[in-house]
């Protein structure tokens, strides 16, 4: 599964677990409008570290948390390389 598909799959699963409705996942979707709250994103980052073996936000001191889903995916694609 590609990094992008893994992320979208996990977002859908966490939304289900947390009883949230996920907005349609497009690259320009603003993460804050995605339906996941901050706890949801915290869980997402932890799960992605489990799946992809990398937590790009904690690994780098100055990593900025991305604004859109596209940015978020890019951070992982760069981190996974």
């Amino acid at each position: 599964m590609s990094v992008k598909l893994t992320i979208m799959d996990q977002m859908a699963q966490i939304a289900r677990e947390h009883g949230k409705v996920l907005a349609p996942l497009r690259d320009d979707l603003v993460l804050l409008d995605s339906g996941l709250d901050s706890l949801g994103f915290a869980v997402l980052v932890a799960r992605l570290e489990d799946r992809l073996g990398v937590d790009p936000f904690t690994a780098s001191e100055d990593a900025q948390f991305p604004v859109t889903l596209g940015d978020f995916v890019k951070v992982y694609e760069n981190g996974a390389h």
Partner: protein, 462 residues
């Protein structure tokens, strides 16, 4: 209950005529020989009235030295097994140590250039004349703080032995403990054996659990004590079948329902009790109904001279069994009403108090507070889980998030995604029982969890 005149431990041992033994891994002593004998090479008199550091390396010699010195030494400070050599000097200064008792296994630096240094042997030699006990000895135990110099906690023998009921046993008693007797939980068992006409099987650092259980079985242990972590580790060993204690005791950590149920299953006929005790608060109570937590009426009603209250969420205890003070430290051990704050957070659920965790052990998730023990208790309910550790993990989003390390009862290879199924089941248990910030974000299966020298699950607060 009428109390008799204070008597020394040696005198109390002499009250019983029957022959009994203390065993460790490599040696044993017929403890009843201490009535007319000594393991201190006849030098007991030199230690009279002194502040003595017991820095023995073996538990058997520790037991012999403590029994001999009670009523003789002015103060007995017990060096715990994993004491940091950097802390020896502050302990000597703080407790005004004048003499040290060593054995062949003592830590290298423990002699400390003290003027009086006495060696304790594992053998008891007959003595024509022994000095008579003339004083109440102050017993000093060191706390197991994770950082800094340990606190020195002062007790007397009357307080230490107050929780021990004097009753006739049906048949010979062989005590065993997973604890080290140089800590409060283990010392309680040494005293129970010494006063209760019992033999005692001592633990030994580094001994594999299976060997220890085998030894306990060979000596026919009838009464066995340890922390819930000790017990979970023992339950993971097939050698658990070698013992069949009549009495099973847990203390020192929260006993959750899962460990109580597992012990009930392993020992269907045993009496199973979980005691609440700490170095500072002493033994406060024991619960024998097989349920986690304790009845709320324990707080409302004074039992055996023990008063309890819950203030700012934590359990506070006032009793003749609490320590009297910290030696050489400024902070008082009791509040102005005589209560010791245990630092253990309790919550009332129906007519029972349950332990929610330690104050200070709290994980903060985006401003919401989480006690790891509460989550572990839920995970441990899963029938395939032996034990678990919930810990914080740094999160860029919420500061922290909880993750769980889980040890399964049987560690077979993952056949057909079985582990994924168990992981899913555990998460479902958590989601059903806990608010979502307490549901672990990730679960890892691990082969074992670290148990510290104190017998408690090793936690590193991040």
């Amino acid at each position: 209950m009428a109390r008799t005149e204070p008597q020394s431990l040696r005198q109390r041992i002499g009250e019983h005529a029957s022959e009994r033994f203390f065993w460790d891994r490599t040696a044993h002593a017929r403890i009843t020989d201490l009535v007319g004998g000594t393991s201190l090479a006849g030098r007991l008199g030199e230690l009279a009235g002194k502040s003595v550091l017991v820095a023995t390396g073996k538990q058997l010699t520790t037991a012999l030295a403590l029994i001999e010195l009670d009523g003789i030494a002015r103060r007995l400070t017990i060096l715990p097994p994993d004491a940091d050599p950097d802390h020896f000097a502050p302990v000597v200064a703080g407790a005004g140590i004048e003499a040290v008792v060593l054995d062949h296994a003592s830590p290298a630096d423990a002699a400390l250039d003290l003027p009086l240094c006495v060696t304790c042997a594992a053998e008891i030699a007959g003595a024509a004349k022994l000095p008579a006990p003339t004083r109440e000895t102050e017993w000093v135990l060191l706390t197991s703080g994770t950082t800094g110099v340990p606190k020195m906690v002062a007790h007397n023998l009357a307080g230490l032995t107050a929780p021990i009921a004097r009753k006739k046993a049906d048949g010979p008693i062989v005590w065993g403990t997973f604890y080290d007797i140089r800590r409060y939980g283990g010392l309680q068992i040494l005293l129970r054996a010494a006063l209760g006409n019992a033999s005692l099987v001592l633990s030994s650092a580094g001994e594999p659990t299976a060997d220890h259980l085998d030894r306990l079985g060979r000596h026919g242990v009838t009464h066995l004590s340890g922390t819930p972590s000790h017990w979970r580790r023992a339950l993971m060993s097939p050698a658990i079948r070698k013992i069949s204690p009549r009495y099973v005791r847990l203390s020192g950590e929260i006993a959750d329902q899962a460990v109580l149920d597992s012990l009930r299953h392993a020992f269907p006929k045993a009496s199973i009790g979980h005691a609440y005790a700490s170095t500072e608060a002493g033994v406060a109570f024991e619960v024998i109904d097989g349920h986690a937590g304790f009845p709320s009426e324990f707080v409302e009603r004074h039992r055996g001279g023990v008063a309890m209250k819950v203030l700012h969420g934590s359990l506070r205890i006032r009793s003749p069994r609490t320590a009297s003070r910290y030696v050489g430290a400024g902070a008082p051990l009791r509040d102005e009403d005589g209560f010791v704050d245990t630092g253990d957070i309790v919550e009332l659920r129906g007519d029972r108090y349950v332990f929610a965790g330690r104050r200070g052990g709290i994980i903060n998730i985006g401003g919401l507070k989480v006690h790891p023990e509460e989550i572990e208790a839920v995970i441990n309910r899963h029938p395939q889980v032996r034990m678990s550790l919930v810990r914080p993990k740094a999160s860029p989003v919420t500061g922290s998030i909880v993750i769980a390390d889980v040890v399964l009862k049987s560690q077979s290879a993952d056949a057909g995604g079985e582990l994924a199924q168990v992981k899913g089941d555990i998460l479902k248990l958590c989601r059903d029982a806990l608010p979502r910030h307490k549901v672990p974000a990730a679960i890892s299966f691990v082969a074992a969890l670290d148990v510290a020298a104190t017998g408690k699950l090793a936690r590193r607060h991040g």
